[in-house]
């Protein structure tokens, strides 16, 4: 029998990048194939071609032994390919059932049959143990549940090949384990699964086979039984990597950030932070662990002046910063690495130089009587690009043209350059290659050692556990536990993240 999917010698290039270079991949029915590689290795590009989102430049794709032209997702869906995207592809104002049915609607009296769709979704969610209320709007659901909807969407279309692109990034360890179980269940029912991740633990737990990509090239194929974490890591990065962050023991000094019972509303005008209290001292890194959507964003925005605080107080260096604007907070010595650097942290159409003074353009050095001082700005830019090893042809290049890792270095460079007293870093290594991750981690530790207080928010539990001196677990807008990093283990924190009790 022909394999479910056979990709032969596929290449794809984007302006300036060869994203996939002569890659071949086979997936059989009932098999979980892990696609492993660091960010930018070309994993997403490969599966997007299988899903019909891009046409390959060269190479062939076979499904059930037939050569296919996947010109659109529709063509792929019709051939039984389903994909759960890394960025959820759900319409926020639609209900679960509407999202699931979208594109494969059933009709009654010529209209979309919403009742049928809701029944179908309910039946599916029961069958696969993916509990979700079909009538609820997506924007009212936590991310973990949204992912279930994404999976239901695929199941609704009777997919024979299921692609999961970094599905565990937004899950607690327990939820991750459940998802891995679900994946095994699919495989048992004869579905072929492509599982994209950069987390070695998960690969070893679930995959039948592992295909490793690096810089757009296929560097190897192996089986979990024939390798271990270190071996996989070496294949993935091309050298042996230090997975742990090297750092001295923290020497906390005076308190820099004190949050007293703040109440903040989220975008939907519901309670986002519910009387949250927290304290961060100079010379320590406090990591916030939690499942995304439990108030991390609101917390960061409340501290940095981007979100209104309804009740409670925020003190920075014992000065009341509760109703301060982002500008005032910045002046108090707070640096902010925003979670969405593309949206908040950078202006893509601006040069690197302008981005490096994005929140400092009024400083006397860069502005005299309202006139921008171009030379000092350029001088600073040249210095920072050098110091933070930003790879760019020139400081005049638009920030939008940089790679994810370099964009992030740009933001980090800007925020650390002026010696802040408090660094609020949200998802500092999201979508960043391993080399840059190491670099950024070292910079954060260095900032701590120079006496800054650091508040680290990350969806990557490993990052929080590895980098933080103290771990605060956030759940439903509250800090439910604070643990010494040394005392925090994955399972315990995971249970707390899910709202469970430690005892």
């Amino acid at each position: 029998m022909a394999p479910l999917l056979e990709v032969k010698n596929v290449s794809k290039s984007f302006p300036g990048v060869l994203a996939n270079d002569n890659i071949s991949l086979t997936v059989n029915a009932g098999e979980v194939v892990a696609l492993l590689g660091e960010n930018g290795a070309g994993k997403s590009t490969l599966v997007k071609m299988i899903y019909g989102l891009y046409p390959p430049d060269s190479g062939e794709i076979f499904i059930n032994g037939n050569k296919v032209e996947l010109t659109s997702p529709k063509a792929a869906i019709d051939l039984g390919v389903g994909m759960v995207h890394q960025h959820f592809q759900l319409v926020p104002v639609f209900s679960v059932a509407q999202n699931v049915a979208l594109g494969a609607e059933k009709k009654r009296y010529g209209l979309y049959d919403s009742q049928q769709a809701e029944e179908d979704v309910a039946a599916l969610s029961q069958k696969y143990g993916l509990a979700v209320d079909p009538a609820v709007k997506i924007e009212d659901l936590p991310v973990g549940t949204q992912q279930r909807v994404e999976i239901l969407k695929v199941l609704y279309r009777d997919a024979k090949l299921l692609i999961l692109d970094e599905p565990t990034a937004v899950l607690t360890p327990q939820e991750t384990d459940e998802l891995l179980e679900v994946m095994r269940g699919f495989a048992k029912q004869g579905v072929g699964v492509i599982f994209i991740t950069h987390k070695l633990r998960e690969v070893l737990a679930v995959a039948d086979r592992v295909v490793v990509l690096r810089n757009g090239k296929q560097v190897g194929e192996t089986k979990p039984s024939e390798t271990d974490q270190a071996g996989l890591a070496k294949m993935m990065v091309g050298r042996s990597v230090v997975l742990d962050v090297k750092k001295e023991l923290a020497k906390p000094k005076e308190e820099v950030l004190r949050i007293e019972k703040i109440v903040v509303k989220d975008d939907r005008n519901l309670i986002g932070l519910n009387e949250l209290s927290l304290s961060v001292k100079a010379g320590e890194i406090v990591g916030i662990a939690g499942v995304e959507g439990n108030g991390q964003r609101e917390l960061v925005q409340a501290i940095t002046g981007l979100r209104k605080i309804e009740a409670g107080k925020v003190y920075i260096n014992n000065v009341d910063a509760t109703d301060s604007s982002p500008y005032q907070v910045h002046k108090m010595g707070v640096a902010h690495v925003p979670e969405d650097r593309e949206r908040d942290g950078l202006v893509a159409s601006y040069s690197i130089a302008d981005n490096l003074v994005l929140n400092r353009f009024t400083e006397a050095e860069f502005s005299k009587r309202g006139v921008r001082q171009v030379e000092p700005i350029k001088k600073l830019a040249r210095f920072l690009v050098e110091k933070f090893a930003v790879k760019t042809p020139s400081i005049e290049t638009n920030a939008g043209a940089l790679s994810g890792g370099n964009k992030q270095k740009l933001v980090i460079a800007r925020e650390l350059a002026w010696g802040p007293k408090l660094l609020v870093a949200a998802q500092p290594t999201r979508g960043v290659d391993v080399g840059s991750i190491e670099f950024i981690h070292n910079q954060i530790v260095q900032a701590r050692d120079n006496g800054a207080a650091v508040l680290l928010v990350s969806a990557e539990l490993d990052e929080v556990l590895g980098l933080a001196d103290r771990v605060a677990v956030i759940y439903a807008g509250k800090i439910v536990a604070e643990l010494d990093a040394a005392a925090a283990d994955r399972n315990k924190v995971g249970r707390l993240m899910a709202g469970g009790d430690t005892n």
Binding site: G305, L306, P326, L346, S367, G370, V371
Partner: protein, 365 residues
């Protein structure tokens, strides 16, 4: 941008043109528009070469023609700047017309109200009155946008209609010229008149200076940096500590002030009084000009000049050939289409063509 290896493969001249394509494309767009226009003219049974000759002769061939062309160009530069400045901040000021007529009226008002002012001061007071009136009128839309979330396209459309009705009342009742059948104000004092230097109206020089000043503000000052940042990425602007609401109001104030100045220059330099029929359509031409100029302040000068030449030459076209003056609107529309649609750039430069960018924003707040 073409960089490195790829550029080397190209012939140097071609490579230069590719670099300068934001300049080359509009020029070719104008040429192609004229070519298409010549077909339309020929279909009317008129020799297109003669027709174009007539336009340019009338608009540029004599001192009188030049004067009229420059007079027409002047408010167009300012109206174009008004729309362009707002576009920089991501606001679509469709109400330049209303702001312009408010400016025209209040400049006139200052011109006939204050007595015994020395000439230079009186002109200045008149212009200032126009700027303030236009600016405040636009600021209403700015405030509604910033603090109440009312989209500026809607509010400025409403404000246009309100301005027309309000001014109609003012020239029909409190400020109507006594003994005149026509609703209009009395003329301004001579001290408030903007003079001409030969065939160059002083207002035109003023408009050039203002365009250069605005260009400098946008590109060189921290205020301009804030405008651009809000326009380019308002999330990043908020993150960077820029007070977006304040910038929205300030930019509308500036935009309206520029439109108001356009009206004021018209009143003090050409019409010397206010009449509702004057200033018709100038603000809407400002939209065309700002879009032709891709919101670049300096580029509004040639764009406005093009419109000025065509508008100034059109009546002669009718005189000489009986072709209706609206042909120039068709020419402008085709030019705008070719400048804005990426077709032309792709046809000429193929894969080296610049990607089109969106310069206006949708309704999304």
């Amino acid at each position: 941008m073409i960089q490195g290896e790829e550029a080397k493969k190209l012939h140097p001249t071609l490579s230069y043109l590719v670099q300068k394509q934001s300049l080359v494309v509009p020029l070719i767009a104008v040429l192609v528009a004229f070519l298409i226009g010549s077909v339309l003219i020929a279909l009317q049974g008129v020799n297109p070469v003669g027709a174009y000759q007539t336009i340019f002769n009338a608009a540029l061939g004599s001192e009188r023609g030049l004067l009229r062309t420059l007079e027409k160009t002047t408010p167009l530069i300012l109206a174009g700047l008004a729309v362009a400045v707002a576009l920089r901040v991501g606001l679509f000021n469709i109400g330049a017309q209303g702001q312009l007529i408010m400016g025209a009226f209040f400049a006139t008002w200052a011109g006939f109200t204050f007595t015994n002012l020395p000439a230079l001061l009186h002109v200045f007071v008149g212009l200032l009155a126009g700027v303030i009136a236009g600016g405040l009128w636009a600021a209403i839309a700015g405030v509604l946008k910033a603090y109440r979330g009312v989209h500026e396209v809607i509010s400025t459309i409403m404000l246009n209609s309100i301005a027309i009705a309000l001014l109609d009342y003012l020239v029909n009742h409190p400020f109507k010229e006594p003994g005149q059948a026509l609703p209009r104000t009395v003329p301004i004092f001579e001290t408030a008149q903007l003079p001409k230097l030969g065939f160059v109206p002083v207002g035109f020089l003023l408009a050039l200076l203002v365009a250069m000043f605005i260009s400098w503000v946008i590109n060189r000052t921290t205020a301009g940096f804030q405008f651009n940042t809000v326009g380019a990425n308002k999330f990043a602007a908020a993150y960077a500590g820029i007070k977006i609401k304040y910038i929205v109001v300030a930019s509308m104030l500036l935009s309206g002030g520029l439109a108001g100045l356009g009206g004021a220059v018209e009143s003090l330099g050409i019409t010397y009084r206010f009449e509702p029929a004057f200033n018709k359509g100038l603000g809407f031409d400002g939209i065309t000009i700002a879009l032709l100029a891709r919101a670049n302040p300096l580029a509004t000068i040639p764009a406005a000049f093009l419109v000025g030449v065509l508008r100034s030459g059109a009546p002669s076209l009718q005189f000489d050939y009986g072709i209706e003056p609206e042909i120039v609107d068709l020419l402008l529309a085709i030019t705008l289409l070719l400048v804005a649609a990426p077709i032309l750039g792709k046809l000429i430069f193929r894969k080296y063509a610049k990607k089109s960018e969106t310069i206006s924003s949708g309704w999304g707040s």
